[in-house]
Subunit: 860 residues, 2 copies
């Protein structure tokens, strides 16, 4: 897929003078109704920015023809551009003034402005070369060599190339699936926030490797021991002829347990002691993952010089202009406080009720599928065709899961939109606040949506079915569904694997690739629709890079990317006790996902605004919350969904021999068929001599004084299950705390490097101090000043040491070490300051798309 | 208590020139064997420090007479002092050279050195005045007025006074018990670390007020409902004549349950539904407390200008010299790495085995007391005296608890010393590391020590006693003890209250007041013993402040103070479900504790080195860990120690009427006396017609097929208990997380102030930028320079803005705003740097006691 940028020379990255680089491109979309006359006034801004005076054609006089709002837009645009110039930016427009359609304004940010903004943001700059790495790390590098991406040289030359042509980048990102990601390059090109996303995805994927390996081992253990497992052997044993009670009223017959042999054996694959170990392992894995990511984050913060950033981010208050609804309300300064007080309460109320409504929607969807299952199985059971009858369970389960999956996918998209709408109603005060609220809401909704059917199968299915002679009915006619004879775990496993794999496949293919392609097509089609003569014009002169970039899809934030991964993380952590292969599927998905995301970011989207970020924000809290939640969920899955505890109880409390022999008999209660309610007994049976049928529950036998009441065994098993939950939860929580405590947050090499740097700094200070002292002494001795006045004024010079070494370098020195860049962060800080003023509507129409090609690494 | 400092004029705070203040006093204790001749060399150090050249008598020539080590000390001292001078400090000694005994060296830290160190430590200085507080906070101030300590003015004048006379301080600290603490003054005088301790203690004590109020209400609810409680009414009902099985073998008779009426009623005071509410309340209280403290800490950090401190502290590596054992090992630089590798492993091994041994010791002490109780009650039961017999339980419980208390107090002191010894063996790398390891170990040991007997009563007592006919015996003869008929909760309550109150009373009175007094007496007595003629000499001239301060006890860190409070916090949080009055007792103790601590710090101890600290360090982790632990402990106390769950189960599962009537009968199992083992039945009984006696347990009756096995009710109750634990734990954990999430870490006024400051800073920068631009323009226009060369060199001047405004002030300006002080932190940084050199043994003999009177607020 040859992208358009390949066709271009580098010249397009510069202003017409060929010297100043294009750092940003503004797009103003002009509708047809307005005629614009250009060039009435000329703003002459003289800037000492490297090449004398710059004349910029700026003024636009507007005749209001049809729509006064449109005209206002043009005025606002003018003011916006004037403020940009005032802030020191330089501007270039196309010489011909187009009457309508998109018009592009290129911005150049001169060195002076860059360094001033760098000061404000306290961007750190390196003051010295990196020391050679110690021996062991050099060995590590050797070992890792084959997995490193084939970047010519990770030194200056690469950095330089990067700033010139952007298609080179793509090559690295594709690289090969087994190679590390070029995270540093991603950060340089896309900014810290996106860099952190890819780094996080990398760490997550990397750590999935051991998890999926252990998962495979656990699965293999299940396969290996399936022939030695006494309970499943007993179930398959045709000599132990357990006559089971019928699965539906009237039409269903008694049946032999040995016919469920297959599901029993399949269950053992996932329901064996190794699973308990795996659940503990995975809970600790989550703790390790979180700690590992913390370390990686700190390493990245160090190598990206972000260590001092935190406070800056927290304290900037900005008004979130892109969201039209309330930005209009807020634009009037006086109204603001009123808006806050009056408009928040209904917003919150709508929020809560909407979220509750969405929860209700999710639950009804789940319940709908349950009803579907119940009704369809009842109908199929009544069918005279024997083949239909025998396939009831398979057909119903498969179709129901697919319906579930489709519902999940549809609701997922709806909930994403609803979350944005609800967050806008809330009028959050800062951009980061907005993002946080949005993420929390979207997460809550999508989490419920994805997991509700799974929770149902894990913890509720079959628990409200009643017992023979006292079944529970829905709609008066249909018996509540029960689990398969092999236990609910195998159904949980099927449900999980289909939803997980299906969701990922469909979302990756359809939503992440298909829909952006479609959008692009629509955009292109729209563009064609407007004018025919323009296309002629386009064919005449080669399209500029910004024209091509304009056709790309705008970047809409990282939230969907993270969300997808977090929901996947839930599959990997929450129900891992029932599906040890989940990490493997996640791993396979992610290896593809990283490449797809990279491709999307590089070729499908407009280059996003680079945003400085120190961490992954609220996602970390969500991850850690899910880690905590997964402990209790896994505890319940093991103790209530699986047969692990009943087996243990049988073996150590009831078994005569201390082995598992007799377990199946022990778990089946007796039912006297004469106790069936009228019409519930099988109408025709080939086992007509049956007087007692069995069912899976711990209840008193018919001949007991408390017939069909829960037996003592029931309560003992329940107590054991609950005790296991307490034990598991507290043990795992303690171990997780221990893991978090043992793994230090700051990697050793980083903390040592910080120490070294600090010592060095102290040394420099002390030396300077000494020199100053000598200087003073020699001054005093030569000039013989009478008073020692202010001996400490000399301190001033020592202070700016850290910054001045970096900032003091001449601008544009391409071989220099200084890494001050005009990051988008500094730019958006600008626009923020300006949007505080009354003209903050300007940003709405003037969508600001940074030019993909225009490199911002002016100093590199 | 008139302290000596009151007698002094201010002159003693200055060098003999009356201008330079005494900032530190070094003490060198000279033994008799060495004769010292002074004044052979004269180091002339010229410093531009305010008053021309300063001649300091420094050199000491040593004749080695008896002990070469002693002589070496003197040489080391000389080098140490030389390095102090080299670092820019000024020194003064007594003119007469004393032959032996303590000799004092006064240090003055000139302004130049202060500001250099302030730079290193990045101490923040205020650049502008505080804005007037908003209206609502002024109202708050008004309301709080009566609780503010009577400090003349919290402005400059107070600060000035503080730096002159230190007895004034004491007045504030006493104040009155209902007044707030003058935390800012404490911090100014003692440094941040001690200031934070008092602030923490204040927050804790303040939050104990609501907790104890709710506790009193819960207790009152128990008192109020005791006459309505059906179970205790049933127990006291003499008509329901439950004949209970004997409490000991042979000599004990059957007894009627109604005789245990008293304990049943007492139990209800603590064992009622309100306790469950209180346990949940207290768990949330812990979460609130932690969050509240976080906020307070951030407020203090802000008002004490510590916000940027963190990284500095973490990265300073120092060798912990005061601990003689390994400081000798480390002193030889080359040995160091070897020491680390070779000496750590055995250290760790000794550590682990010692801690295990101490645990064993604690457990044996607990077990010893149990055996004491069992044996004594058996012996007393056998006694022929009926009065002895009737008082068995009271006597045994009371004496046993007192023995427990004494053992706890003794082991507490031992464990404190052991923890120090073990930490020294570990050779931790940094001072903060040392402190952390020490605290963790001491906490572990002291926690086990204080709580082991309580844990025993709460969870183990009476659970291993067996049942009639199958009792459990220790030493073959003595039956394991059971709980009182009213349940174990009342015993737990007694145990808790006696240990808690007793421990606090004794530790406050004996250890915190008595022992320091004793130490002082011993020191004074020792001083007297040395020479008689010297006392004459002392009488002749008035003692200097440093002489008086030298007689005070050295400061030994905050660890014991924190430890005491943390253990108390355990009483308040861990077992609060069994003793709702614990917060009240803690509150009463703390109100006294704060005053006692303040008095101790001001009058009994030498003024401690001021240490900068941003937070309370590992104590916070311990507190939060205890908070988490308390949730599970309270869950277990409610569900297993109290009768809450059995009552609920009876009411909703077994009661015919839905009321509690018949509960006592339900909890008592039947025992056929013919099943007693030979010799176990009462030898003589006034209830000779008894065939069935009752005992408290859920077991099958003698006429059942599974006689004396656990009944179905037992398992049902057990399941309910366990389910309650899970429910309680997860509910409370979730609520705590919610509390932590809802309460923002940064108080709103602080975050807003930070925002304002930032805006201000940006404004200043922008203004400066503009001015510079105009300046440049005018320069270019006037001089007409040909090249624009380096337009950004002008940036230099804007950089040091924040620091220079504070540091640029002339030294010693008493009315100035700058608050740069020679904090002990900066001083110890000094000594640390010097102790890196081979002469780091110097610190050992030359105990550095900062002079209590010598103020370090040179700039205030």
């Amino acid at each position: 897929v040859g992208t358009p940028s390949r066709l271009l020379e580098n010249s397009c990255q510069f202003f017409s003078d060929g010297r100043r680089k294009v750092d940003y491109v503004l797009v103003f979309y002009q509708r047809k109704q307005i005629s614009v006359r250009g060039g009435d006034r000329l703003h002459r801004l003289s800037r000492s920015a490297g090449d004398g005076e710059v004349c910029v054609d700026l003024a636009v006089e507007v005749e209001l023809e049809a729509d006064p709002a449109e005209g206002e837009m043009v005025l606002i645009r003018e003011e916006f551009e004037a403020r940009l110039l005032e802030a020191g930016l330089e501007m270039e427009r196309d010489t011909e003034v187009r009457v309508y359609g998109p018009s592009f304004t290129r911005l150049h940010v001169p060195w002076q402005v860059l360094s001033r903004e760098a000061e404000f943001l306290k961007i750190k700059v390196p003051t010295k070369k990196v020391r050679p790495p110690p021996l062991y790390s050099r060995v590590c590098v050797k070992v890792n060599q084959p997995f490193q991406p084939n970047i010519p040289q990770l030194g200056h030359s690469t950095t330089k190339q990067l700033s010139h042509c952007f298609s080179r980048d793509k090559l690295h990102l594709y690289g090969a699936f087994y190679k590390y990601q070029p995270v540093d390059l991603i950060r340089k090109y896309f900014g810290e926030k996106i860099g952190l996303y890819f780094a996080w995805l990398g760490v997550y994927t990397q750590l999935l490797i051991p998890a999926s390996m252990v998962g495979i081992i656990v699965f293999c253990y299940g396969c290996y021991t399936v022939d030695m497992d006494v309970p499943s052997l007993e179930m398959c044993d045709k000599q132990q002829n357990f006559t089971m009670c019928p699965l539906c009223d009237g039409v269903c017959d008694y049946w032999h347990l040995s016919t469920a042999c297959g599901t029993a054996r399949a269950s053992h694959l996932f329901d064996n002691p190794a699973t308990v170990f795996f659940a503990i392992f995975m809970s600790l894995w989550v703790a390790t993952f979180l700690e590992h990511w913390k370390r990686r984050q700190i390493s990245l913060n160090h190598s990206w010089d972000l260590t001092g950033l935190e406070e800056e981010e927290v304290n900037t208050i900005t008004y979130h202009t892109p969201h039209l609804f309330w930005s209009i309300l807020v634009s009037n300064g006086n109204l603001h406080v009123l808006v806050l007080l009056m408009d928040r309460l209904p917003g919150y109320l709508i929020n809560i009720s909407s979220i509750l409504f969405m929860f209700g929607l999710t639950f009804s969807a789940v319940f709908g599928v349950i009803v579907y299952r119940i009704v369809v199985s009842a109908l199929m059971a009544m069918s005279p065709d024997p083949e239909t009858k025998s396939n009831v369970r398979v057909t119903v389960t498969a179709t129901a899961v697919i319906i579930n999956l489709v519902v999940i996918l549809i609701l997922d998209e709806i909930y994403g939109a609803v979350a944005v709408w609800l967050t806008e109603l809330e009028i959050p005060r800062t951009e980061s606040n907005f993002e946080q609220h949005l993420i929390l809401k979207a997460f809550l909704l999508k989490f419920m949506n994805a997991y509700a059917p799974i929770f149902y199968v894990a913890f509720f299915k079959g628990r409200f079915a009643g017992r023979p002679g006292d079944y529970v009915y829905v709609f008066n006619d249909y018996r509540m569904e029960e689990c398969a004879p092999g236990g609910c775990l195998i159904e949980l496993c099927i449900q999980l694997s289909i939803i997980m794999v299906g969701k990922q496949l469909i979302q990756n293919n359809v939503f992440e690739i298909g829909i952006p392609k479609l959008k692009k097509l629509i955009r292109a089609w729209k563009g064609k629709g407007i004018s025919l003569e323009e296309r002629e014009e386009q064919r005449a002169r080669p399209p500029q890079q910004w024209n091509l970039d304009y056709t790309l899809v705008p970047f809409e934030g990282l939230t969907p990317e993270y969300m997808e991964m977090i929901i996947q993380f839930g599959f990997v952590s929450l129900f891992v006790a029932s599906f040890p292969l989940a990490p493997l599927f996640a791993l396979l998905n992610n290896v593809i996902e990283i490449r797809l995301d990279a491709k999307k970011f590089v070729t499908e989207l407009r280059r996003p605004d680079a945003v400085q970020a120190k961490d992954i924000g609220i996602w970390y809290n969500i991850l850690s919350g899910m880690g905590k939640f997964s402990v209790i969920i896994n505890a319940f899955v093991i103790s209530f969904t699986s047969d692990f505890i009943p087996r243990l109880v049988y073996q150590y409390m009831y078994s005569q021999t201390g082995t598992m022999h007799g377990f199946i008999d022990h778990t089946l209660s007796h039912f006297n068929v004469s106790n069936f309610r009228p019409g519930n007994a099988p109408t025709s049976s080939y086992l007509s001599e049956t007087t007692v049928c069995r069912y899976k529950d711990y209840r008193e036998p018919p001949w007991s004084a408390e017939a069909y009441q829960f037996s003592k065994t029931y309560w003992a098993v329940l107590a054991a299950r609950l005790a296991f939950v307490i034990l598991f939860q507290n043990l795992v929580m303690f171990l997780s705390l221990l893991v978090a405590w043992v793994i230090p947050d700051v990697p050793k090499n980083i903390s040592e490097q910080l120490k070294r740097e600090k010592t060095l700094l102290v040394d420099v200070f002390l030396r300077e101090e000494k020199e100053k002292f000598h200087l003073l002494q020699s001054l005093f001795s030569s000039k013989d000043l009478p008073s020692q006045g202010h001996p400490d004024t000399a301190h001033f010079r020592t202070l700016p040491l850290g910054l001045s070494q970096g900032l003091g370098q001449p601008p544009g020195g391409e071989g220099g070490e200084s890494r001050v860049r005009c990051r988008a962060a500094s730019f958006s800080q600008f626009t923020r300051q300006m949007s505080m003023s009354p003209s903050n509507n300007a940003g709405r129409q003037m969508s600001m798309s940074p030019s993909n090609d225009a490199a911002r690494h002016t100093a590199v």
